[in-house]
């Protein structure tokens, strides 16, 4: 029982990442009808926004220390951080500690503008082309983005720690009445899950309760009619692309303390996210979220030692196996809408 709870918890954070990326993919697909293979790259760019921002916060200069000399007798230097100079000692230290959550503020405008530039500069020209062309050009774009990041940040993972407060682990077992130290769960993963839930809720609320969201939903249902009503639907869809990019980027920002970002992390997530989207049903937002969490938890459950002993290797293939079964038995995925991407 404890093991099952632990694995469900472990599945939640991976599931949150899948759900967030799949949500963005579905937003793009549902609005613009474009299959965006560069979405994993956007996730990766978000993670590197966090890296860049924490690098910026820890910019320092050296100043000579008047009293001290090092062991060779040379005058020694102190590293002085600009943030501490500007905002005061304590506030500066706090900002450096909270670099990852603070990068959200930095990542949102950056990711939205990357998304808008991508849509206006490239994807706009591919609406009329077949899906295969869209896949190929975004695949090429993903390679380019990935290599640019590799050029500037190198090929090695860059550790980006969470704030001090969240570095410990939470003893779930004790809280739920089991033996202590059985179900231990890092705080940051809880934060990640909560963050993902908030983002997902915000996206849904935005689409459901604002006029802008209403127009976008109308455009998803019937683009032409909305256009005929005199609404500039293209502009709204461009903004939705920016939002989808920001969702992927934020998923990346908050994921950095869980896994140190490297340049190919996006591709690793992309393949699985596509499986998630297809399982959830192309174009269905709730389906993407549901399938994201479902597959994340299934993957963790399958890596329990009891299950692996029973069917060796199941943890490696479970997601693909489920995807194949669902695609063959439920052609539209779990919650796919009628008439979207059907043969």
């Amino acid at each position: 029982m404890e093991a099952i709870i632990l694995q469900i918890l472990n599945g939640l954070d991976k599931g949150s990442a899948y759900a967030l990326i799949a949500l963005g993919l579905t937003l793009i697909f549902g609005t613009l009808g474009v299959v965006n293979f560069a979405h994993g790259a956007l996730f990766m760019m978000g993670a590197f926004c966090a890296v860049t921002f924490s690098n910026l916060l820890t910019l320092s200069y050296q100043s000579p220390e008047p009293t001290g000399t090092d062991f060779l007798g040379n005058p020694s230097y102190d590293d002085l951080f600009y943030v501490q100079q500007w905002f005061g000692e304590a506030a500066g230290a706090w900002m450096m500690d909270w670099a990852v959550p603070l990068s959200i503020l930095f990542a949102i405008p950056v990711m939205i503008s990357i998304g808008v530039i991508m849509e206006r500069g490239l994807i706009k020209h591919f609406y009329k082309r077949p899906h295969a062309d869209q896949i190929l050009v975004t695949f090429g774009l993903a390679i380019v983005l990935q290599e640019v990041i590799k050029y500037y940040y190198g090929a090695n993972p860059i550790p980006t720690p969470a704030p001090e407060v969240f570095r410990g682990s939470f003893d779930f077992g004790a809280a739920l009445g089991f033996d202590p130290n059985v179900i231990i769960y890092p705080y940051w993963r809880l934060v990640y899950f909560g963050f993902a839930a908030i983002i997902i809720a915000a996206v849904f609320a935005f689409l459901q309760f604002t006029t802008f969201g209403m127009v976008v939903r109308a455009g998803m249902a019937d683009r032409e009619t909305v256009g005929l009503l005199g609404i500039n639907i293209d502009r709204r869809f461009t903004i939705m692309f920016g939002i989808a990019a920001a969702v992927a980027g934020l998923a990346g920002v908050m994921y950095t303390p869980i896994n140190s970002p490297n340049y190919h992390m996006g591709m690793d997530f992309l393949v699985l996210s596509f499986v998630v989207v297809v399982v959830g049903g192309m174009g269905s937002l709730p389906g993407a979220v549901l399938a994201g969490f479902l597959l994340g938890i299934l993957e963790s459950l399958a890596s329990m030692s009891a299950v692996i002993d029973l069917i060796p290797g199941i943890n490696q293939v479970i997601i693909y196996l489920v995807a194949i079964i669902i695609l063959l038995t439920r052609p539209r995925g779990l919650m796919g809408r009628k008439g979207v991407m059907e043969e």
Partner: protein, 414 residues
């Protein structure tokens, strides 16, 4: 001849000429000169050109003709490599049975995967093939690499069917029933064709030039020519017409009372067998098979090759495979020192500027160049390099026609 039209025969002869003369054509710069690093005429790389050419030709039969975009073709490449390795381990180092088993096994895999995946089309088909390939990768990496008959068993299945992360390798203990278990000097024998070792090569020195003729290259080259010939025949056959019909309008095909499924499945299996053949050849050239050959990036690579060269054209995939492998092996070798020697004639500041501008695109950054070229091709030249060269050719023809006209009109005035 060969049942081909004149135009196709010319193309086949052209490719045959290129393949046979490749050791000369790819070695245009004398040994030791500054340009020698652009020489691609060494056996290892030439073998890769033709083997990936076969892989891409096969992929093109599926994608170019039917329009089904498979993102899991590397699975068949891996299956072919593993089967060939097992043939080397069990029966002997002759490459013919190894390639036979590689083709047969990948064909069987393709029947199963194709039968299931082809129930869907479009992006769903891509995801299904991707899922199958990733499953094969994961299985080859982990489960199939554990010994199935207890840890104390010696020899063959010591590391399972696939050998896991390190890959499947030849050992001295392999039975090799039909061939020698070891060479006379006690080493592991190398793959051969009736006694001609794949690694054997002769060198020809002409002045400063050194040309290498390797048995392995010519063997794979001949096989690629056969594969190319077969693909021309498929393209021109009624079967090929049916596949094109599937691409242009599957619904209309069904309405006329034809079932597209057997045709697409046949195309899928044929292209899977091509991939298996390529995988088997890879194992024959370098007896080693690892799971990374099945990873989805390997599938993505063949997609890149086919699109870059021109999907649906005969020669495109071969060109694309050559271009990408050339970039991977030659462009990636250039480093900043070499760039500095090239631009040494410029004033220092300008030299540094130019080197700094070029540097991100070469060496380790060759993927960036590949990505940019690929995007440009998809955006501006959906027909790939082949369409590009056709456009350039047409431009010249038009120019010539324009040039001809005035001379024709001026002549009578003489």
């Amino acid at each position: 001849m060969f049942g081909l039209e004149k135009k196709d025969l010319r193309l086949l002869m052209f490719v045959a000429g290129l393949t046979l003369l490749a050791p000369f054509l790819l070695n245009p710069f004398p040994e030791g000169s500054a340009m020698a690093q652009f020489n691609a005429g060494y056996p290892d790389l030439m073998q890769r050109f033709v083997i990936f050419g076969i892989f891409a030709i096969g992929f093109n039969i599926l994608f170019g003709l039917t329009g089904y975009l498979s993102f899991g073709h590397a699975a068949f490449l891996g299956v072919g490599s593993y089967s060939a390795m097992w043939m080397f381990k069990l029966f002997g180092m002759n490459v013919i049975p190894a390639l036979g088993l590689a083709i047969a096994m990948s064909g069987l895999f393709a029947i199963v995967i194709g039968y299931v995946s082809l129930r869907r089309s479009g992006i769903y088909f891509s995801i299904l093939t991707l899922a199958f390939a990733m499953m094969s990768y994961a299985l080859a990496y982990s489960v199939l690499a554990t010994d199935m008959d207890g840890p104390d068993k010696q020899g063959l299945l010591q590391k399972g069917l696939t050998g896991g992360e390190t890959g499947l390798q030849l050992t001295l203990q392999d039975p090799r029933i039909l061939g020698a278990q070891t060479t006379e000097s006690g080493n592991i024998p190398v793959p051969s064709l009736f006694g001609v070792e794949m690694r054997s090569a002769t060198e020809l020195n002409l002045g400063d030039w050194v040309f290498t003729f390797s048995a392995g290259y010519y063997f794979s080259g001949v096989i690629m020519l056969l594969a190319f010939y077969l693909s021309i025949r498929i393209f021109r056959s009624p079967f090929g017409m049916m596949l094109r019909a599937v691409k242009s309008n599957q619904q209309r095909l069904t309405y006329t009372g034809l079932n597209p499924k057997p045709y697409t499945l046949a195309a899928f299996v044929i292209s899977g067998m091509y991939a298996g053949l390529a995988g088997g050849l890879m194992a024959a050239m370098d007896p080693l098979a690892g799971p990374e050959r099945m990873f989805w990036t390997a599938s993505g690579e063949v997609v890149l090759m086919t699109i870059l060269g021109g999907a649906g054209t005969l020669i495109g995939p071969v060109l694309g495979a050559g271009a990408i492998k050339y970039m991977e092996n030659i462009l990636s070798k250039i480093n900043s020192d070499i760039l500095h020697t090239w631009f040494a004639f410029l004033p220092d500041g300008l030299e540094n500027l130019i080197v700094g501008m070029i540097y991100p695109f070469i060496g380790k950054g060759w993927h960036l160049t590949l990505g940019i070229i690929f995007m440009l091709v998809v955006i501006f030249l959906p027909g790939g390099l082949v369409e590009g060269s056709q456009r350039i050719g047409r431009m010249f023809k038009r120019k010539q026609a324009d040039d001809d006209k005035p001379t024709a009109t001026t002549e009578p005035a003489e």
